[in-house]
Amino acid sequence: MESKLKILVFLGSALCSIPALAALNVFACEPEWGALARELGGDKLSVYEATTALQDPHRIEARPSLIARARSADLVVCTGADLEAGWLPLVLAQSGNPKIRPGEPGFFEAARAVALLERPARIDRAMGDVHPGGNPHVHLDPRNVAVIAQALGERLAAIGAADAAVFRGRTRAFLERWRSAIGRWEAGATPLKGVALVVAHKNLTYLVSWLGMREAGSLEPQPGMPPTTAHLAELLARLKREPARAVVRAAYNDPRSAEWLAERAKIPTVVLPYTVGGSDKANDLFGLYEDTIERLLAVAR
């Protein structure tokens, strides 16, 4: 009897593990925005990350756990620009939480704060899984992160008015550290200027453009389409004529086609953390950039 009671109490407490009421509940679609929210909100936020660095943010399903977390969220922080088009609308619709509907203050899209690269001139699925608004992987240019941090800090202050001063103060402090870090990174990354890279997916465009590197090709024949042997062979032939320094992929991209090409083109493969949590050193936004540049410099020298 008593053990049954204990089990009931345990189950009851497991079911009712309602997220902390004092803090604002933030539902971050990707780890980079979870990390940014933590920088700006500290212990005034309870942050849930919907995806990990090892997951492709395009291909997530509207899992029950995501719906449950969205149900009690005060703020959703996502990339936008259709990166989460396959699952976020469904999660929001099924959560029954009007606070986080698009257009409400509880819905924050990072990509809205910055100008997107690679806006397609033609919007046609024959071009692959193109995003009509432009390339959504904006977080790999630290200057974008600074702009987004400013906007997110303002949004946090608006939603959590009681702690507005804390959010504004932390945002100012973060931006100060961030701007000096950008200067440091840019100075350290000068050897990367002009370096040609083959990328796995068009998810490093902003990094390549920030550091003045060059994209010599993509493993995907078209954005979002898995690599085909025909395309890889063509890419290999092109690399023979115009060599690249390395094949670069994010931690979540398939290693096989990257290694296949790298081996035949006799260049190294570089696995970039891509986002926070993608490598041991990338445990926050600063670590993400430091590790990324370090790994690139290792092949550029």
Binding site: A14, L15, C16, S17, I18, P19, T51, T52, L54, Q55, D56, R59, I60, E61, A62, R63, P64, S65, I67, A68, R69, R71, S72, D82, A85, G86, W87, P89, L90, A93, Q94, S95, G96, N97, P98, K99, R101, R112, A113, V114, A115, L116, R119, I123, R125, G128, D129, P132, G133, R143, V147, I148, Q150, A151, R179, G224, M225, P226, Y252, D254
Partner: protein, 451 residues
């Protein structure tokens, strides 16, 4: 510019120094100091403006949509499907022995090349309070069917969503999933036998998601369209109601699950079906009474690190149990041995279990097992010996079963080609071998990745 002025001033000082008096020197020094101050002030101002510009969000890029009347066009998508099928038995004669025919679309695909239903999906927010959706199916017979047409609340809050119109019921797991998103071309036998393929109703639905980290959802529906197992009774109020509950969550990063329990209650009146009696005449029989269907469902999905792009695995199963009691009328049209009515009670069950594995990008294989048990119906007219078992052949005790295997190839998220092979023992004593090739293509708005 400032720098040049400053240098010029310095040069002037240097060249003129030899002839300058002390007073001149002091004046020049003062001018230089003022210049330097002005220079620093302007530099600081510039730096501040630069910092502000960096920090200020740039205006959002203009949306690619055109303005004007078109700007509010709803999201539209279109599903195109077709099959090429061969089967060893005529699909026209398809029936599931032991179960009263549902009258739904339960047959196998037509032989030869054929077009399947094309679906047009139109959806948008109505206003800040409602969202609307229409799914119209254009059948190969050149008819239009309204599959779903509902409005749904957006702003109720507290995890509540109210839906009204025609919609696929939230009972079970597969019921709410549209045919083009199924892992096999056709529905499990249990869905065909107990729900006529699927249960859709005209009515209202209320769902509530609990504010817990574990996903918990409760829902209830009232409906009156009278699709099988209910009938339209032309009366005020609901003809069928259902309740369902789902729970779900993650186990580590790689596994996600959902399980649920649902109940559907209906009180059909004169739910008619055709059977061939002992004289060989096709007669129409009808059931009136109560029907209750219980469904237990569970789904488990696995992907390495939760990233399904490379490989993933999905296990899905549902168990059905139906009890019906009431009256069975034989030969309602008086076409054969004369209209007679007696009691009827049955308890029937069935299940399916299916597994789908993506072994490399684009390619998936799947296997499905179907089992039904017709149980033993108590038919009053047979117990009183007014009629014999041969007069109700379709209700004879039988255990229909089926095995299905499939392999599909999806060049992109929007297209899929599938080959499916089945050995179907739905008909008593007759094995039906089915082979089909199917294509499913979706155009337009990005489809949702349902769990």
């Amino acid at each position: 510019m400032l720098r040049i002025t400053l240098c010029a001033a310095a040069l002037a000082v240097a060249s003129g120094a030899a002839f300058a008096t002390d007073a001149d020197m002091a004046q020049i020094r003062e001018e230089i100091r003022q210049l330097r101050e002005a220079y620093e002030r302007r530099i600081t101002a510039l730096e501040n403006r630069l910092g502000e510009a960096e920090a200020k969000p740039k205006p959002a890029p203009e949306p690619a949509r055109s303005a004007g009347e078109n700007a509010f066009n709803p999201a539209t998508s279109l599903i195109l499907q077709g099959t090429a099928a061969r089967s060893s038995r005529d699909p026209e004669t398809y029936r599931i022995d032991g179960f009263a025919p549902s009258g739904g679309e339960v047959g196998t695909a037509r032989r030869g090349l054929s077009l399947a239903e094309s679906e047009l999906v139109v959806t948008a927010n109505v206003d800040p309070y409602f969202r609307g959706l229409l799914i119209a199916a254009l059948t190969p017979e050149n008819e239009t069917e309204v599959e779903e047409a509902f409005v749904q609340t957006l702003a109720l809050g507290r995890g509540l969503t109210l839906k009204g119109g025609r919609f696929l019921s939230g009972i079970g797991y597969q019921n709410e999933i549209h045919q083009h998103a199924w892992d096999f071309q056709d529905a499990p036998l249990a869905y065909k036998a107990f729900l006529g393929g699927r249960f859709s109703d005209d009515g209202v639905q209320l769902r509530w998601v609990a504010p817990t980290d574990l996903f918990l959802e409760l829902g209830a529906e009232l409906g009156s369209a009278g699709s099988f197992p209910a009938t339209n009774r032309n009366r005020n109020g609901a003809n069928a109601w259902s309740v369902f509950g789902h729970a779900g969550g993650d186990i580590g990063a790689s596994i996600a699950w959902r399980a649920g329990l649902s109940m559907l209650r209906a009180s059909p009146r004169e739910r008619a079906y055709d059977d061939t009696d002992s004289t060989g005449t096709v007669v129409t029989n009808a059931f009136s009474g109560r029907s209750r269907v219980w469904i237990a469902d569970a789904v488990l999905k696995w992907a390495p690190n939760g990233n399904p792009g490379e490989t993933n695995f999905k296990l899905q199963g549902e168990y059905f149990r139906r009890t019906e009691s009431g009256e069975l009328t034989y030969d309602t049209q008086g076409a054969s041995l004369g209209t007679q009515t007696g009691s009827y009670a049955s308890r029937q069950s069935g299940w399916y279990l299916q597994a789908v594995y993506q072994f490399m990008p684009r390619w998936r294989v799947g296997y499905r097992l179907d089992r039904l048990s017709a149980g033993s119906a108590r038919i009053g007219l047979m117990e009183s010996r007014a009629l014999a078992a041969q007069d109700f052949p379709v209700l004879a005790a039988y255990r229909p079963r089926r095995r299905t295997a499939m392999i599909d190839w999806s060049p992109s998220e929007y297209s899929r080609v599938r080959v499916q092979l089945a050995r179907d023992y739905a008909r008593l004593g007759e094995a039906d071998s089915q082979l089909l090739v199917q294509y499913v293509m979706s155009l337009g708005a990005h489809g949702a990745h349902r769990f």
